[in-house]
């Protein structure tokens, strides 16, 4: 006879000293955990509820400007600093951590319309309606670290006066050039007082300009003649032009897929385009109910933030048709500029009410350092929630966002309008000769033509 029974000596299964950690034994046999699917579902539901409870995205407001904030610029070298320019010609550098002004840059006579920092983070370039471009030395990091936040003001490094008012400025990602937009697109060298190159296509004002992050010589502009134009600095003339039915207010390139850019349009939508294939948008991002004023991609390239004239800030997936998140407060007015922070955890919006507002990019994310066990738990809950997100109860909780009444009503109205339009189109099609009215997808519908 051979016999063995389970025999556990207590020493092996308990800790030796009271300072030791308790011993943990695992057995992943599914038969020990019965009804694990139901348990997972309950966990997913609870996680969705908890996420909703902890969704407090608003971190704080930075006030100091005495007129509407018109533009902002991130300093790629310094995570917690942000520049903002206002309609009264004031430029400020903010410390996001303490939410206070670190430095002011006085000089502009009219509104500041464009701000950008060079990629090495040493020079700030501003332009405005007073027909000047000003170059500033960015204060060294030590000033930002210092405790006394007395009003430092800086002197411009250079002031270049030009013939027309400026609407936007952007610095090359790699190189010494920067581009301004106004009556035409001007390419400047930082050391020259006059533009080195000028591009003109059409007679309308150019309202925004953005350099491509991957290819330093390519830039995209949008103009008030409803066009989006691509330029290559190595060529003497603009490369391509796309004319849409409404004006594009701002453009942002996807930093991870630099051939794609997203345009913030007056018709409440954003359109993602492949720069090589402009005859059709890759994705239409709908949800805003008024003109989209500004757009900025997250450094991860997976999502972007938009600010709109309807007083909300929304965050979209780079390939998602609807917004993931909508931020609003009672006091926030028309949003003119938005930026994603360089670590993709915060969103900063500047609005008509003279304030900059700081939001979390993930509304319910826990800030601060997470212990490994906490992080693991969060990851587990995220995975479980993702697994059961299609079930009605979980979906209802995860999808729900509170909207201010005017926006809620405007959304309903817009839905009615688009529905009516769709119905009309359908009937028109039904009563015309077959094939004479091909259905145009929304991705193409707002495009008038592409010009080479």
């Amino acid at each position: 006879m051979k016999v063995k029974v389970i025999s556990r000596s207590e020493d092996e299964f308990t800790r030796e000293r009271s300072q030791d950690l308790q011993r943990v034994f695992r057995n992943f046999d599914p038969s020990l955990r019965t009804q694990e699917k139901a348990t997972e579902y309950v966990r997913a539901l609870n996680a969705a509820k908890v996420e909703k409870i902890f969704a407090r995205p608003f971190m704080g407001a930075m006030d100091g400007h005495i007129d509407a904030v018109s533009c902002m610029a991130k300093n790629p070298n310094h995570l917690k600093g942000i520049f903002s320019g206002s309609m009264d010609g004031d430029i400020r550098l903010w410390d996001i951590a303490s939410r206070q002004t670190v430095c002011q840059f006085p000089g502009h006579q009219g509104a500041v319309r464009g701000l950008t920092a060079s990629t090495d983070g040493r020079i700030l370039i501003s332009c405005g309606t007073d027909c000047t471009v000003r170059l500033w030395n960015v204060p060294v990091a030590s000033i930002m670290e210092s405790d006394d936040l007395s009003d430092n003001s800086a002197k411009p490094l250079a002031v270049y006066v030009w013939k027309n008012a400026f609407w936007a400025v952007d610095h090359q990602w790699d190189g010494d050039l920067f581009a301004t937009a106004g009556a035409q697109v001007d390419i400047w060298d930082r050391n020259r007082s006059a533009p080195v190159n000028s591009f003109e296509w059409g007679h309308d004002t150019v309202v925004s300009v953005r350099f491509n992050p991957g290819e330093p010589n390519v830039l995209a502009t949008s103009a008030s003649d409803r066009s989006i134009t691509l330029y290559d600095l190595r060529m003497s003339s603009p490369a391509r032009k796309l004319i849409m039915k409404t004006k594009t207010n701002s453009i942002s390139w996807n930093p991870m897929e630099p051939m794609n850019f997203t345009a913030a349009n007056e018709d409440c939508n954003c359109y993602s385009y492949d720069a090589r294939k402009l005859d059709e948008a890759k994705c239409v991002h709908r949800d805003h109910v008024s003109a989209v004023m500004d757009i900025d991609f997250s450094p991860t390239g997976r999502e972007f933030v938009t600010g709109s004239y309807d007083r909300t800030v929304r965050i979209f997936q780079y390939n998602g048709g609807h917004s993931r998140e909508v931020y609003h407060t009672k006091r926030m007015q028309r949003v003119f500029c938005v930026k994603f922070s360089c670590d993709a955890t915060y969103v900063i919006s500047g609005s008509d009410d003279t304030n900059l507002r700081l939001w979390k990019a993930k509304a319910s994310e826990q800030l601060g350092v997470l212990l490994p066990r906490e992080r693991k738990k969060q990851e587990y809950l995220e995975a479980v929630k993702n697994r059961y997100k299609h079930l009605p109860e979980v979906k209802r909780i995860v999808r729900h966002r509170h909207l201010p009444k005017p926006i809620y009503k405007a959304t309903a109205l817009r839905r009615t309008m688009t529905e009516a339009e769709r119905r009309k189109e359908e009937r028109k099609k039904a009563h015309s000769a077959p094939g004479s009215m091909p259905t145009e997808p929304l991705r193409k519908r707002r495009i008038i033509k592409e010009v080479e």
């Binding site: 006879m1 051979k2 016999v3 063995k4 029974v5 389970i6 025999s7 556990r8 000596s9 207590e10 299964f13 308990t14 308790q22 011993r23 943990v24 034994f25 695992r26 057995n27 992943f28 046999d29 599914p30 038969s31 020990l32 955990r33 019965t34 009804q35 699917k37 139901a38 348990t39 997972e40 579902y41 309950v42 966990r43 609870n46 697994r387 059961y388 299609h390 079930l391």
Partner: protein, 532 residues
């Protein structure tokens, strides 16, 4: 040459060994895969197909990782009892086993003789560390089986029919003469559950925190012990019932009735999920396999049956009485009858149970309750003269999981565990026959009606596929052929046309409703006359 040959042989041997290992691994992987993967071939959506293929691959990988980690994570091996030579395992006496095993284990077999407060029932906590003992005449005791220490002992001085632990050893419920009561482990009465009535059997559903009871009048009660809410109160309508067992796999409650029926219940429906006639006499015991697909029932007509719970078909029928039955974690079946306890084992892996061990108590002891102790090779017996426990090698799961049930739990861990299990408390709606259905999509029941064009197309296809026979000489006149053809077409079209007629004749829903609605007398003359 010699060296080369050696290499050759070693090369030949290597794959064999590897194959063995991979086979073993495959078996383990299968356990962690939790069923077959989704059938992706039938999917039309390419994007979804790609996503699901990635998922499936991930599941396969994680199952493999778990199977590989088993070697390191699970240090203990399960027990066994093997006969040598002409020995038979069922002839080996308990004394012989106790003599062979180590001292620590030999202490676990004991006989507690309590002659006065007679027949005893018992219950273990989920981790198997604590035992509750209840004597029919009101004797209650809680014991720590690790230290073999008595924690609390008291008498309630009335009939006690059953005892069951709640989620941990701090609380237990006792079915007494008129009502069930909940006590804490110091013997303080916390609740009297009057709504349950005179309860015969009690069970606790650990994932749902429900206390299930069947009372003298055949009423099944489910009470949520966290909120005190009565979740379900159903009349079985099948008379008095002494047999109540919970299927650990899906938490469905099984009841055995005196008419030979077994019914299965969930707390959210007033009718049983399943009603099956298992025996031709009263049912004396039922037991559920922890895998969830096997049920054993015993009837008074001297039969023990094993049932497949997926098809609700009998797998095997054995002769034998059973007053009480219980499955162990590893699938051994203990059967208690009179003073005799049998343990059966699935020898072939095809649910073909055969004798494994026998144990006979002193003649006058009547075994009333058998229960395997979780995570140990021990069978607890409650009988008319006290409580005993015997060693049954190979019955318990050798490796426990600290987060599921920990026999070496400290009070702090117990507190943590309680909070976590309360957070994961399942709603009563989660109880269903197939718990893996949760989170899946309900197949659309609506059958799509074919459109008129489709019907037309079908009819034309039927006409076109008419077989035209070649006629023999003389019958092959063109006119005859044409006539035959026309006849064939009419015959092929007829079923379709008949169906269309039937649909047309059926009044629309609106019409039906209006016809049904009774008009007041004064208005009836305006109503449309029914066509006769």
């Amino acid at each position: 040459m010699g060296v080369e040959q050696e290499n050759g042989t070693s090369d030949k041997n290597m794959p064999l060994v590897e194959e063995d290992i991979s086979n073993e691994l495959d078996l383990k992987v299968k356990k962690y895969l939790r069923g077959d993967g989704a059938n992706l071939e039938v999917l039309q959506d390419k994007k979804l197909k790609g996503q699901l293929a990635v998922r499936e691959k991930l599941y396969g990988k994680s199952a493999k990782a778990a199977a590989k980690a088993e070697k390191w994570l699970m240090p203990s091996e399960e027990g066994y009892l093997e006969a040598e030579g002409i020995e038979k395992t069922w002839r080996i006496k308990q004394e012989a086993i106790v003599r062979e095993v180590d001292i620590l284990s030999s202490r676990k077999a004991f006989d507690l003789v309590l002659p006065e407060l007679g027949p005893y029932t018992l219950d273990y906590t989920l981790s198997g560390r604590y035992m509750a003992v209840a004597g029919r005449k009101g004797h209650l005791a809680i014991m720590d089986m690790k230290n073999m220490a008595l924690i609390k002992e008291f008498q309630v001085r009335e009939t006690v029919r059953d005892v069951v632990f709640l989620h941990n050893e701090l609380f237990f419920a006792v079915a007494q003469k008129k009502y069930p009561y909940i006590y804490d482990r110091n013997g303080i009465e916390l609740h009297c559950l009057k709504e349950h009535g005179a309860v015969v059997k009690l069970q606790f559903l650990k994932n749902h925190f429900l206390l299930a009871s069947i009372n003298k009048f055949g009423q099944l009660h489910y009470q949520d012990v966290t909120t005190g809410q009565m979740v379900g109160n159903y009349r079985t309508g099948l008379g008095r019932c002494h047999v109540l067992q919970v299927n650990p796999f899906n938490a469905v409650t099984g009841l055995g009735h005196s008419g030979g029926k077994v019914t299965m219940w969930k707390p959210t429906s007033s009718a049983p999920l399943v009603k099956m006639l298992c025996h031709h006499g009263p049912i004396s015991a039922i037991a559920f396999h922890p895998g969830g697909n096997l049920m054993a029932t015993a009837g008074m007509e001297r039969k023990i049956k094993l049932w497949d719970l997926r098809k609700f078909e009998v797998l095997h029928t054995y002769p034998g009485h059973a007053k009480t039955m219980n499955f162990s974690q590893k699938g051994l079946l203990a059967i208690g009858n009179g003073s005799f306890v049998q343990i059966w084992k699935d020898n072939s892996g095809a649910q073909d149970y055969g004798q494994y061990m026998n144990h006979s108590m002193v003649k006058c002891y009547q075994v009333g309750d058998v229960l395997f102790r979780p995570y140990e090779d021990i069978l607890g017996l409650g009988h008319s003269m006290g409580v005993s426990s015997i060693l049954v090698p190979g019955s318990g799961e050798p490796n426990f999981d600290s987060w599921v049930a920990n026999p070496y739990e400290t009070p702090k861990q117990r507190g943590e565990k309680e909070v976590h299990s309360l957070l994961d408390k399942l709603p009563p709606e989660a109880i269903m026959l197939n718990p893996s259905k949760i989170g899946t999509v309900r197949p659309s029941r609506k059958k799509e009606k074919p459109t008129s064009q489709e019907k037309e197309a079908e009819m034309i296809a039927a006409v076109k596929s008419l077989p035209m026979k070649k006629k023999t000489k003389g019958r092959n006149k063109p006119s005859k052929r044409e006539k035959k053809k026309q006849e064939g077409i009419v015959r092929a079209k007829r079923p379709f046309l008949e169906q269309a007629m039937k649909v047309e004749q059926q009044p629309s829903k609106k019409q039906r409703i209006s016809e049904e609605a009774e008009l007041p007398k004064s208005l009836q003359r305006f109503a449309r006359k029914k066509s006769m």
